[in-house]
Symmetry: C3
């Protein structure tokens, strides 16, 4: 693997190979095998979590980090092209982690970079490291990826993490339940793809009746930036909120995932239930990113 741009057409063995490497990172203390290597974090759009997760992964492996984030990137403001910025960063660093608001930007960066490029989110397109950590966490919590009952809940229209994850489900054929507020349903194109790949799915307005069947609930943030007022947002979100009551009929091994940050999609009282798994998921991000850095840099 030279770059990590997308999990969309990633072969199943490549995915599983990365998850296995992440497993080794989780089970053994980090070795400083990236000593002397530098990762450039090029965040044209801010993201504290993804950026710090990569920085931590790099430093735990003995490497170091340079970079910029939206607030302080000035060459772009001066009108520099993405290609020129990446060309320069590729001179400084041994690998580039890029987040950029435009779809296809990571692929464009890879074209001009002679160093590995890792896509940390290119607009509404792909967020492959998030998808890999999601798959890792599903497998870890369920012991397998095949044939699971998975509910996707929340803003399925804009949620990049959901779209990115769904593409990889082609390999694992879960039974999918789509639960979204009116107006935030999964786009038709995505539904057509699920059909084309023979993935069974159904659309729902509420979670209640489905909970007993589920192995995984994957929640996403319903951004209040998308609503005119906070009250409208609160009303709309309420039926999709995960609460201890909702989870009463759940299987013991049901696990709840969320890419975080969360707003009020999950009642904090859920945090203490064995079903809550979003913090483990976040922690797994470190091991998956260590695996990715090790893969592209050694």
């Amino acid at each position: 693997m030279r770059h990590l741009l997308s999990t969309r057409d990633m072969p199943k063995e490549t995915i599983l190979g990365l998850l296995d490497r992440a497993d080794q990172h989780k089970k053994t203390p980090p070795k400083p095998n990236l000593q002397g290597k530098i990762l450039a974090t090029c965040f044209f759009e801010p993201s504290t979590r993804t950026r710090l997760s990569f920085e931590t992964a790099m430093k735990r492996l003995g490497g170091d980090v340079i970079g910029f984030h939206a607030a302080d990137h000035t060459s772009s403001k001066k009108g520099e092209s993405l290609q020129d910025t990446i060309r320069i960063m590729a001179q400084y660093a041994d690998a580039i982690a890029i987040r950029h608001p435009l779809e296809g930007s990571a692929a464009l960066a890879a074209e001009v970079s002679d160093k590995p490029v890792i896509n940390c989110g290119d607009g509404s397109n792909q967020h492959p490291t998030q998808t890999l950590l999601d798959l890792y966490t599903i497998r870890e919590s369920q012991g397998r990826l095949e044939g699971l009952q998975i509910a996707l809940v929340g803003d399925l229209k804009h949620g990049r993490t959901v779209h990115s994850l769904l593409h990889t489900f082609n390999h694992f054929k879960p039974r999918i339940y789509l639960i979204a507020p009116p107006g935030l349903e999964l786009p038709k194109q995505q539904l057509d793809e699920l059909k084309a790949h023979g993935i069974m799915f159904s659309c729902h307005q509420t979670l209640d009746s489905i909970v007993p069947k589920l192995d995984i609930i994957y929640c996403t943030r319903i951004q209040h930036e998308r609503f005119n007022d906070k009250i409208e947002h609160a009303e709309l979100v309420k039926p999709y909120r995960i609460t201890p009551e909702l989870l009463e009929p759940a299987k013991p091994n049901l696990r709840i995932l969320h890419p975080l940050p969360r707003l009020n999609e999950i009642d904090p009282a859920v945090d203490k239930l064995p079903h809550a798994y979003y913090f483990e998921q976040s922690q797994n991000g470190l091991y998956v990113r260590q695996a990715i850095l090790n893969t592209v840099l050694t």
Copy 2:
């Protein structure tokens, strides 16, 4: 010591133990005993000096740093709770240095963090690392902490560093002189506490007559943000300005402290006098923070 949240109820032996450790750090070259450790600097409110002082201390001890500061912290903007942010940072790092505008925020962070939390200022509440470096510097310059004649000058109403420092004086019983412009006097609650602890104090409008008695003058910034216009500010500040003339009758060993940054509370001509000790104080911040990091991380 698990967390460092406050010096308010810190036992005298704990304070003195930390000052002794800082002393060792000042006297011997740093050893890289925090190698492989990561400190997260979570600055919800900006503070170049405190942040860089901690970063330097960590790096001098062989550790590394990740973090964010107000300008680039996006998860909070997306509505993430402080607790969630801290939970995630505690997954990434081995210790957390937090500055946050709300009182009690550091204690809240400590509740959800399984890694040590160091309070770098929580609103107008506490700034324990500043207090410890102040005490270190007083002891270093005077050879003792007990029974000193100490003047506190400037904005005693809002000055967090002054409030934080005063609490620890319970252990050392100095004679206190409070010199503040009208409207910026020490709040009644603080005066009551001094009385309750049997600390002798008096309030003054000017410094002149007191100078000959003093061992320490502790100045604070009178923020011009608090005034309608700069001229009003300049007029108000003038009588509280430390000048070479003012210091003529001073004891040879009088030392002037200031948490910095300073505006014009201190005439630059004072910098060259033996009384000026604010830059030594700032430098001592490094050793005190090295001591704190070593204490919570090893």
Copy 3:
């Protein structure tokens, strides 16, 4: 060399010595001889490229970096003087790299710093590390610095890099061609200096007729901030744009330099020609800055 403030009056041997050191850094893998050293990057004015280039150089040599950039420097906002900020940074770090919008600021910083100060641009005055990497790149591409035919193209009025570079030409006596849009010509003072130093030069409105004679074309950005509208800017810039057609009559060894970032001063089709040398130039910045750091820190 204690500080690096200016290349203006730098002796020829000092310049050549630094270029030779940079050469060694380019030819051999970096040695971690700055281990345990800390560089403070104090960027009162933002500059991603210069800042990251220094950070990379420092880290490649085993050192580490602390610092701030405009967006997050708060002590200045609180009214702290440049001198006080530098005094504190000099306590934290082993060397200081400063960029500041005011002319003379780096020299002022050096006055109060007991650690080496490296000027990374002080207003329209000096940018010595850029000048040294420009000279390094000219020498590398032409095999010599003396007696070259050099065209300076673009905004010669405001371009700090051009002014800084011209001062050093006193040592190498090139034949200079000045090509600037109306209103952006080299200031009279600079022309007088060229005359005083006996440097042959001529002013031109277009490049066409000169191209066959040239060894170096040094382009600078024509900032569109300086124009009322983008169309006016585009029209004005067009005749100064470097294109493959323009370069047809060029000598095989003509090399094009640009301090970057570029806007549309250079047709991207030029990137593939052997004449394009601006990315090599940028890469050379790393080696030159390694040489500078090694010089002031060891």
